[in-house]
């Protein structure tokens, strides 16, 4: 789905992918970070950093509050030409206390702000991060392996999507309503399984997956759901050939972008959580496929995408209780979904009763809660 909610989610993902702010170090881990730490001295009137240029990657700011007031430190990135995007922050640094703030920084321009008294814009100082490509959150080879495995999965889904979309588009352009209906849901499965990554490619998501309810005034409606409405309401496909061609072209754009997609352990983990959010907010409610009622096909694809993300991150997670809980929760969701299978697909969501929808919502909540812990446990 693309909606205002979905787009916010995409923006959040992109931000995390670029600048995964790692868990702030606690005092116990401060010593090991001291060697490469950047001293940041905050007073009531100054915000002194001992370096103004850094290479891309993980950095620790050793913050010392030598002022008389409680302070907070922000790292701001550019958003719309202004330094307003919070990359990371630490509040409540008391007078005379220190704090190590670790952050993963991508190349670009930043501003550091100290805010004595914890109010206002603060005292700002410039910071430039140099280098190529994205920040590497961890040198851990297991993390690199996870990112690589997930990229292979996403590429495989994108590759699989192109011919499926082509077959759907061909039926639409031929005016073959029944054939197009039968190919509609399948053409969306790869998209739904990698949607958080697809959403990070800017306007691809609204072009391909916008719902009618989320159209803004003056916006042209394109993508799957425009065709879905025509197929399941009037059956009149005249004039939709350009929309269909655009969809096929966009599928190829997506396919070509995967090799350079910004992926990190954090973005994969957050993507899994976002897939469950999708299920919870638009599939269980039946909002996504308002005309075709093929929501359960999307539901299954979202779950499979989340499960794949979990599979590649699993080796990075040491919290065995969380793993046990996630394994059981994925199984519970699949068990509930399997009850609605019909032939090679699923029953129409219009036939799923309120108590059945409630049962689906319950297992989705049961998975969504532990899945929201995955990112922090994996980085």
């Amino acid at each position: 789905m693309s909606s205002s909610r979905g787009r916010r989610g995409a923006a959040g993902l992109a931000a995390v992918a670029l600048t995964a702010s790692l868990a702030a170090c606690t005092a116990s881990s401060a010593d090991e970070g001291k060697a490469g730490a950047i001293a940041l001295t905050a007073t009531d009137s100054r915000c002194d950093v001992d370096r103004s240029s850094l290479p891309a990657g993980d950095h620790t700011f050793a913050i010392a509050n030598k002022g008389s007031r409680v302070t907070e430190v922000y790292v701001y990135g550019l958003a719309g030409g202004h330094f307003t995007k919070v990359v990371t922050e630490k509040e409540n640094i008391g007078p005379g206390t220190s704090y190590d703030l670790t952050v993963s920084l991508a190349p670009g321009r930043y501003k550091l702000a100290c805010k004595p008294g914890m109010t206002g814009d603060g005292i700002r100082t410039r910071l430039t991060v140099t280098g190529r490509g994205s920040a590497t959150p961890k040198a851990d080879p297991r993390a690199a392996a996870a990112v690589s495995a997930y990229r292979t999965y996403v590429q495989g889904e994108a590759d699989r999507m192109v011919p499926l979309v082509d077959r759907f588009v061909a039926a639409v352009k031929a005016g073959a309503v029944d054939k197009a209906k039968s190919r509609y849901a399948a053409s969306r499965v790869p998209w739904e399984s990698v949607e958080p990554v697809a959403e990070s490619f800017g306007d691809l998501d609204p072009r391909m997956d916008l719902r009618e309810a989320d159209l803004e005034p003056g916006q042209t409606w394109t993508g799957w759901h425009r065709i879905e409405k025509a197929l399941w309401t009037t059956g009149d496909l005249r004039g939709l050939a350009p929309v269909a061609d655009q969809l096929a072209a966009d599928a190829r754009v997506l396919q070509g972008k995967v090799p350079t997609a910004d992926l990190s352990v954090a973005s994969i983990g957050n993507g899994a959580k976002e897939l469950l959010d999708e299920v919870s907010t638009s599939k269980v409610t039946g909002e996504e496929e308002a005309f075709s009622h093929t929501d359960l096909v999307d539901f299954q694809a979202n779950v499979e995408g989340a499960r794949e993300a979990y599979r590649v991150l699993r080796p990075l997670v040491e919290d065995t209780a969380l793993l046990t809980r996630l394994d059981a929760a994925f199984a519970a969701v699949q068990h509930e979904l399997d009850a609605h299978r019909s032939g090679s697909g699923f029953v129409s969501y219009a036939t799923v009763t309120e108590p059945q929808r409630r049962d689906l919502a319950r297992v989705v909540d049961g998975l969504g809660e532990p899945l929201s812990q995955l990112t922090a446990a994996a980085v």
């Binding site: 702030a24 907070e72 509040e91 954090a266 969504g368 922090a376």
Partner: protein, 410 residues
């Protein structure tokens, strides 16, 4: 989750508000007691309005009734007994935090990449006399958890009463949590966080918000009014009356289920009041229906609210006459109901009424015969509709190292 807690990291929500100094000194703030008695901050200032969580009986029964209610019934969605036990243990840990005015799990934002453990909307609020009371429904004793043989005889399914208009989606539940507080946001925060903790193990079946307590358990407190505009609960069992509590409210080991000793049985009924027709009814008729005067609350024909009730001298079908203990072998109830308004019913009428909550030692000789008499004859029936009905066994209080239901499940 709960095992890794460092209790010394706990802050009262009040301290969080005090700002950076307090947070920076999290370690120094020290263990802010486990909610026994009045906890105190590091500065020595008392955190007011704390009802002790631990004790021989659960709080929220005989303790004073605060102004707001959030009541939630849950279905256990797991079939694993270990999950049920784990849930009750996690709930107990969270309840210790919240009833003391602390956020769940201590200070939030341990990792910016993880969601905060506490949802946050009660930061800056004190406990506001929050009590959390847990009960077990008859369905918990089916085949899933091997508890069939432990089901108390007093937890017999309630019979159907004449005139009931029950909505199945508002009835029953394997578990129940009653959250009472003087701040509605604190009560809602508690249920919201317990529900989140339950994900994958239990899910909300139905829930009810209530306000403006409709009964008091305090001798010196003015009797509250229900939405009929009448005083309700003048003859309630008081939390300060040990004999009445012993005889009418607390289950005893000798009653047949030793694990329930010190517990009680809770009947919940959502009673929709047809307030529009009631409001068009003459004062004389309203008073005949209730059996008391509207303004003073005195039994009809008597001068004072506390005048002795002689049921024989009241209208035979009046509510007070029919419910009088002398007609039910002395049976009384500890009522702690709340008024509710769930918006409008779509016809322009208030969807409002009384969320009736009554604690007792044995429903078979207390609520059931009483309600049978009322359902058959009560003149009030014209103005009420019972839309939900449920019964729970409320286990005894939690010991400092114990957890809800340990006398049944440990």
């Amino acid at each position: 989750m709960t095992e890794s807690r460092d209790r010394s990291q706990h802050l009262s929500r009040r301290n969080l508000l005090l700002g950076a100094g307090a947070v920076g000194a999290a370690g120094a703030t020290g263990a802010v007691g486990a909610a026994v008695g009045n906890a105190a901050t590091a500065e020595g200032r008392p955190v007011r309005r704390v009802v002790p969580f631990h004790g021989g009986h659960q709080a929220g029964i005989a303790t004073p009734v605060p102004g707001h209610l959030h009541f939630a019934a849950y279905d256990v969605t797991s079939t694993s007994r270990a999950d049920l036990v784990g849930l009750l243990q996690d709930w107990t840990a969270a309840a210790r935090d919240m009833t003391a005015g602390h956020p769940v799990g201590g200070p939030s934002a341990a990792s910016p990449l993880a969601p905060p453990e506490d949802t946050g909307e009660a930061v800056g609020l004190d406990a506001a006399n929050l009590t959390l009371t847990v009960g077990f429904g008859p369905t918990l004793f089916d085949e899933r958890f091997g508890l069939g043989a432990r089901r108390p005889a007093a937890l017999a399914d309630l019979p159907a009463f004449p005139g009931d208009m029950l909505e199945p989606t508002r009835c029953g539940g394997d578990l129940v949590v009653q959250a009472c507080s003087d701040d509605p946001q604190v009560a809602v925060h508690a249920i919201r966080n317990l529900t989140r903790i339950a994900a994958g193990r239990a899910a909300v079946r139905w829930a009810q918000l209530g306000f403006g307590k409709a009964s008091s358990t305090e001798a010196d407190a003015p009797t509250p009014r229900n939405l009929f505009g009448f005083k309700d609960g003048t003859a309630n069992v008081l939390g300060t009356d040990p004999d009445a509590l012993h005889n009418q409210v607390w289950a005893q080991a000798a009653d047949g289920a030793p694990w329930m000793a010190g517990g009680s049985y809770l009947v919940a009924r959502r009673i929709r009041m047809v307030v529009e027709t009631w409001d068009r009814t003459s004062l004389a008729e309203q008073q005949q229906v209730i059996g008391r005067t509207k303004t003073v609350g005195a039994p009809l024909g008597s001068p004072h609210e506390r005048s002795a009730v002689h049921p024989g001298s009241l209208p035979a079908a009046s509510h007070v006459a029919l419910a009088h203990p002398s007609r039910h072998e002395g049976a009384r109830l500890l009522r702690r109901g709340f008024n509710f308004v769930d918006g409008s019913d779509g016809l322009g009428h208030l969807d409002a009424g009384l969320f009736f909550l009554a604690y007792q030692r044995d429903p078979r000789r207390q609520f059931v015969p009483l309600q049978q008499a009322l359902a058959a004859h009560d003149a009030m029936n014209e103005y009420v509709r019972h839309t939900s009905s449920s019964l729970w066994a409320v286990p005894p209080g939690v010991r400092p190292r114990g957890w809800w239901g340990d006398t049944l499940l440990a």
